[in-house]
Structures are given as structure tokens and as C-alpha cells.
């Protein structure tokens, strides 16, 4: 509904994606001196992060993103992240990509739901950007790109009213409606219930600008306060300490949108949909869906702006696994419920030949050369590594 939702959706999902990739890369990396030719090193990790971040914050891409437009389907958006995740030497199988997207979306859904004020979604976005700047602080060129986007966010959003932010929030909540994928890190922290719904606390600080519930004030016809009474409820609220900063630099105060992953907390998702979800989702997926013309236009514009780096001649792509073993990844791919599959877009199903050709060309340019035959993918020895732990 709000035509200003996409930049916030994209940047926050992108931020979560980077947190997860960073954590998995660290978990699977080997110290530089010990690494064999086919193993992940810290240098590889930084390179992947740099490549993806610089692609994400590409100026032309950002220009397209910030144009007023409606939100597109989860499918269309997923395609953009697929390309983004492959903007470097890293490769992800379908199952790992699915898991990555599940984690990204559930994390941001949680953040949107729990934002004290709709305006705080901007603080969540700033938290993600602050962390992204930390990932690439050694690269001034990319840092500049991120700061540019930061400034554009401030310019576009700082002046919006609370009502407009609530409309953005409502638009995001419609996008995330009915998603109840269980994430183990959320379940452990009791932030999510076993039925996949998020726990909403009824205690803690109230949003900035809201009073702690309980007071009733009565005024007479002259506007003079004549009575005060109080009421109590089960809630246990306190006044907030201070407001977060909406400037380029500052203490955001809000913790939502900061990195909750660390190497010692591997992240798993459970993708069993409940019976209720099955009903509504099955309906969505049975209609064969040639992409809407508008969605194709959107993709062509966005992906056209993506400047994907191709690995230099002689380099191979390295596979990242979002699961702990290759077998787990394989199993996840085979058992993913039909209703939860993010059907990757079928370009051939489109009706517009001209459109199809253009998009195919763009996607073709983004194809990266497959690893040379004979070279060993880093991922294959992961199993051996895990056995050794």
C-alpha cells in the first residue's frame, strides 16, 4: 500500500542476510596458514562480504530501489537475493538458499512486529547499516556507497509522519502475513513459541512518546483538570529512558536489527508448516503463475542495475552450506513442504517475448562460470572437517 516500503524491506532483509552469511563463513573458515587451496579463509570471507555489499549498495541499483513503487511478490524479491548471494565466489545450493531466505524473513518480521513505534523501523534499518559499515570499514570506496544510501534514507524518511510510518509497517506486515517458520535461535531465546508465533511482551519500556498506561484525567468545561483516577492491568510497563538517534551516527538505543548470531550459536530452521498455513499457501501456489508484467519490469530494472563481479579466470566458485552437514542440506531439499517452496521464477512462462528476451539477457550476463572440471569444491571436504571436530 505504501509506495515507500521497498527500500526498507530490501535493506533490512539484506542486512539479515549478511549477518547469517558472515556467521556461516566464520563457522566454516580455516586460519590462513593452515588452509588448503580448497578451504575457506578469512580473506575469502572478507572478499565475499565486500563483493556482496558493494553490489547491494551500487548507486544505480539504489536509484531504482528508492523510486516510489508497490511491493512485489516474495518470489520476485527472492530472485534479487538469489543474485545478490551469488555476487561473489560463493555458491549456495537451493536448500541453503531457501534456509537463508527463511531466516532473513522471519528475523525482519520479528523486528517489524516488535518495533515500539512504527518510526522505529528506521532505527532498525540504521542498526543494519551500522553493522554493514563495520563489515567493510577497511574499504573506503564501499563505505562511501553505504553512507550515500544512509543519507538518502535520512532524506527520504526522517520527515515522514507517524501515520505514514504506520502505513509502511502495515504494508510490511501484509507481506509477512501467515509466515510462521520456526527458527531455533528464536525458540531457544523464547522469542518465538513452538507454534511459530512470536512472543509479544506486556512489560518493559513503553515507546518514546507514550505514557505508561494507568492514568485517567478528567477536565471540566473550562479545561481545568478536576479529577485523577488510576486503573491497573496485568501489564508491567515502565517509562522509556531515551530516544534513539536518527542521525548518520549515533546511539540507536533499540537493539532490534543488531546482529544476534555468533559462531557459537548455529542457526536452524524448522520448515514444517501447520495445517492452517497449508490451506492458505496451497491456494497461492496451485495457480500457475506467469510473473506479472509489473514484476518483470521491476526485476529487469533492479537486476539491470546490479553490477555482478565475475570471478577472475582461473578462480573457482566456493560452496557455502547453511546446514551443518551436506547430508542435512540434501535432506532439507528433499523434504521441504510443497507449500513453502519459493518457486524460483520461471522466465519462460512469461507472455511478453520482448520482456523475456531482455530479462534473459540480463540474467545471462549475471551467470558466473561453473567451476572447472577437476577442481575440488571447498564444500566437499566440509564433511571431513566436521567429523574431525
Amino acid at each position: 500500500m505504501s509506495a515507500r516500503t521497498l527500500p526498507l524491506l530490501f535493506l533490512n532483509l539484506g542486512g539479515e542476510m549478511l549477518y547469517i552469511l558472515d556467521q556461516r563463513l566464520r563457522a566454516q573458515s580455516i586460519p590462513g596458514e593452515k588452509a588448503r587451496k580448497d578451504e575457506w579463509t578469512d580473506v575469502d570471507r572478507k572478499r565475499v562480504m565486500n563483493d556482496i555489499i558493494s553490489t547491494m549498495f551500487n548507486r544505480k541499483f539504489m536509484e531504482e530501489l528508492f523510486k516510489p513503487q508497490e511491493l512485489y511478490s516474495k518470489k520476485a524479491l527472492r530472485t534479487v537475493y538469489d543474485r545478490l548471494a551469488h555476487a561473489s565466489i560463493m555458491r549456495l545450493n537451493q536448500a541453503s538458499m531457501d534456509k537463508l531466505y527463511d531466516l532473513m524473513t522471519m528475523a525482519f518480521k520479528y523486528q517489524v512486529l516488535l518495533c515500539p513505534r512504527p518510526r522505529d523501523i528506521l532505527l532498525v534499518t540504521f542498526n543494519h547499516l551500522d553493522a554493514i559499515k563495520d563489515f567493510i570499514y577497511e574499504s573506503p570506496g564501499i563505505l562511501n556507497q553505504v553512507d550515500e544510501t544512509f543519507r538518502q534514507l535520512i532524506e527520504t524518511y526522517n520527515c515522514l509522519s507517524d501515520g505514514e510510518f504506520q502505513l509502511i509497517r502495515q504494508t510490511l506486515l501484509i507481506f509477512f502475513q501467515d509466515m510462521h517458520i520456526r527458527v531455533s535461535i528464536f525458540l531457544k531465546d523464547k522469542v518465538q513459541n513452538s507454534n511459530g508465533r512470536f512472543a509479544l511482551p506486556i512489560s518493559g519500556p513503553v515507546p518514546w512518546g507514550t505514557e505508561v498506561p494507568g492514568l485517567i484525567r478528567i477536565f471540566n468545561h473550562k479545561g481545568v483538570e478536576v479529577k485523577r483516577t488510576e486503573f491497573t492491568t496485568a501489564g508491567n510497563y515502565v517509562a522509556p529512558q531515551r530516544e534513539g538517534s536518527f542521525e548518520l551516527y549515533g546511539d540507536r538505543v533499540l537493539k532490534l536489527g543488531t546482529n544476534m548470531y555468533s559462531v557459537s550459536r548455529p542457526v536452524e530452521t524448522h520448515v514444517a508448516g501447520s495445517a492452517k498455513n497449508l490451506a492458505s499457501r496451497a491456494k497461492e501456489n496451485t495457480v500457475p503463475n506467469p510473473l506479472a508484467k509489473e514484476e518483470l519490469n521491476f526485476l529487469a530494472r533492479l537486476l539491470g542495475g546490479l553490477d555482478i563481479q565475475k570471478p577472475a579466470a582461473g578462480e573457482t566458485g566456493f560452496r557455502l552450506n547453511l546446514f551443518t552437514t551436506d547430508e542435512e542440506e540434501e535432506h532439507a531439499a528433499q523434504t521441504r513442504p510443497e507449500d513453502l517452496s519459493y518457486k524460483v521464477i520461471n522466465i519462460e512462462a512469461t507472455q511478453e517475448p520482448g520482456q523475456r528476451a531482455e530479462l534473459s539477457r540480463i540474467l545471462g550476463e549475471l551467470e558466473v562460470a561453473e567451476p572447472r572440471p577437476g577442481s575440488v569444491e571447498k564444500g566437499e571436504d566440509l564433511l571431513a572437517l566436521m567429523d574431525g571436530l
Partner: protein, 332 residues
């Protein structure tokens, strides 16, 4: 002692969206037994006593892209009851059971999306023969409804608000002299008081302070307004004077409803709470009174709709974001 307890949950085909005032109820005698409606994205889920639940889609989109609904409400006029849906494209009016489309009004939607979204939102019956619908530009459309048939006409466009309309409410009791019988509210918290008729007259304007008024009711000349900062404020409709201020909720209020026989007020918010209050007026001082009667916590749910199911306020129903049920409460 608790005044209400949870009775039952009615299953919806799909979950409710996070939209203001996202529950509409049609009570007897307008209908043999209660009917409910809640919006989910592009469709309205209808639950009635007879027949399977039905869904009404939003109109006005292309084959592959359906517009989002913003609200739905039954409007009870003396001659007939219409079911009104508002969306990003326009206003749809149906016979009360949702079976027949009576009228469609398309909004002026620009070719390419502009920074300011376009949508209709805010629905109320008014003045015995009108239905008023708000828009994102701040304009309020006044439709003249014939007692039968489809000859609905746009009678007037009221242009006093500069921000998107959130809610509209008609006087449910007896308006005191000069108090007006309709109130319109917007995103900036501005409230306008009107007297309805062949031509609507603006009687007064209560300026907002930047805090959205998402829901509003009007009863015996008292405006009850729910705000984004969790406050409920009671205003004197005739003078625009603030008569009460309640720190009612810890989050954005999404719904208010009033039971005209008793003056009970229902409020629902993102903080998971539903409160029942009682409004009254001191006959000697003419001061407005508001007392807290009951609190209900809908665990882990952001409430988006709340309505009394009878004119005395002995029963009420609640919807929540992502909840595929309507929760019903009755006397304890």
C-alpha cells in the same frame, strides 16, 4: 471480579491483516443472527450463521495484481443495510449478505505510483440516508443511498482534512444542541465535526498534534478518539473542549467501539490488550466521566479489530494480526 470471559473462537478462512478497525459485526435485528467480517490482504472474510464462510475480493485490479483492501463495514440505514469495502482502488458497496454488488466508485489512481499512496479508508452510515467514505487525500466522499436498487450517487465531497482519513463515526445516541452528528478523523489527529443533510456543514475542527487518531466514536455529544500513542481522549463535540485523557494502552490503538444503550467503550491496541470502559455524564456538573471496567489480554497478539456484539455491550469480539480466528467474549 471479571466482567467478561472468553466464550469461543470462530474460525476464519484466513488471518486478519494489521489494519485499523479491522472487524465489522452485523447484529440482530438487522440480521437474524450475528455476522462478522475481517479483511485479509485483498479479500474480506465473511462469517455468518448460515452457509459456509465466504470471501469477497477487492475490485479494480488487473488479472494478475489485485489491490489491497483497507477496511470493510456494514452500514445500517433505516431503509437498508449495505456492506462497504474500501481499497487502494476505490469503494465497493454490496447488499448486506455480500451477494450482490450494488455500487462501485473508482478513485483517481495515478499511472505511476507517487510517493503518496492512494486509497480509501474510513466508512460510516450518516444522517439516515448517506454513507461517508474517507480517502488518502483527506477528502470525505458522501454517497446518497436510495432505499432500494443501485442508483447510488456521489452527493458531496468534503475537503477539510489535509491528511489521510483514518475513521468516520456517526452519533449513536442523542446529539445535544449544536453538537453535530458526524465526526471524521485523520492521520495527523485532526477531528472534524459535521452536521449531516442535503449539504453537510462543518461545525468545528479539533486540530491534531501530529499523533494519529486511528479510531473514533460519537455518543451523546462526546467524541471518543483512540490515538497512536495509546491514549484515549474524550472531546465535547459541541465546543471542541478536551474533557478526559486516558493513558489507556502501551502501543498504537487500532480499534474503538461504543455500546449506545450503556455508554460502554471498547478499545483494542497493538499492546495485546482490549479494555472496556464506561462513559457517562454527571447531570449536575455536566462533566464527562470515564471508568475502567475490564481488561483482557490476548496473548501474543496485536489486536486490530474490536466490536461490541450487542447494543448494551454485554458481548464483544476481537481480531488480531495473523490470527485466523475471531475471539468472542461474553458476561462472566
Amino acid at each position: 471480579p471479571p466482567r467478561y470471559r472468553r466464550e469461543r473462537a470462530l474460525a476464519l478462512r484466513s488471518s486478519s491483516s494489521a489494519l485499523y478497525n479491522n472487524l465489522t459485526v452485523l447484529c440482530p435485528p438487522a440480521r437474524p443472527a450475528r455476522a462478522f467480517g475481517a479483511v485479509h490482504g485483498t479479500t474480506l472474510s465473511l462469517l455468518g450463521p448460515e452457509g459456509p464462510p465466504r470471501q469477497l475480493p477487492a475490485r479494480g485490479g488487473s488479472a494478475l495484481s489485485t489491490p489491497l483492501l483497507t477496511q470493510a463495514a456494514w452500514c445500517e440505514l433505516p431503509a437498508r443495510v449495505l456492506l462497504v469495502l474500501t481499497s487502494q482502488r476505490g469503494v465497493q458497496m454490496y447488499e448486506a449478505d455480500g451477494s450482490t454488488l450494488v455500487f462501485w466508485h473508482a478513485l483517481d489512481v495515478p499511472e505511476h505510483p507517487a510517493a503518496h499512496s492512494v486509497f480509501a479508508r474510513g466508512i460510516s452510515a450518516a444522517g439516515e440516508r448517506f454513507i461517508c467514505v474517507g480517502t488518502s487525500s483527506g477528502a470525505v466522499l458522501v454517497f446518497d443511498i436510495p432505499p432500494k436498487g443501485t442508483n447510488v450517487t456521489l452527493s458531496e465531497v468534503l475537503e477539510q482534512h489535509r491528511d489521510p482519513i483514518t475513521d468516520i463515526a456517526a452519533e449513536q445516541g442523542q446529539a445535544p444542541e449544536g453538537a453535530g452528528d458526524l465526526v471524521t478523523a485523520d492521520d495527523s489527529g485532526t477531528l472534524c465535526l459535521w452536521s449531516t443533510g442535503e449539504e453537510f456543514t462543518l461545525l468545528g475542527k479539533i486540530p491534531g498534534s501530529g499523533c494519529t487518531c486511528s479510531s473514533v466514536t460519537l455518543w451523546n455529544g462526546i467524541v471518543a478518539a483512540g490515538y497512536g500513542n495509546g491514549q484515549i481522549r474524550l472531546w465535547e463535540a459541541g465546543t471542541g473542549q478536551l474533557r478526559a485523557q486516558v493513558s489507556a494502552h502501551a502501543r498504537w490503538i487500532y480499534a474503538l467501539d461504543l455500546a449506545p444503550l450503556t455508554g460502554k467503550l471498547l478499545s483494542g491496541a497493538e499492546d495485546s490488550f482490549v479494555h472496556v470502559w464506561r462513559l457517562s455524564r454527571d447531570p449536575d456538573t455536566d462533566d464527562v466521566e470515564i471508568q475502567h471496567c475490564h481488561a483482557e489480554c490476548v496473548t501474543d497478539t496485536q489486536v486490530c479489530g474490536a466490536r461490541f456484539c450487542d447494543p448494551s455491550g454485554d458481548t464483544f469480539a476481537v481480531t488480531g494480526y495473523d490470527l485466523s480466528e475471531i475471539l468472542c467474549y461474553g458476561p462472566a
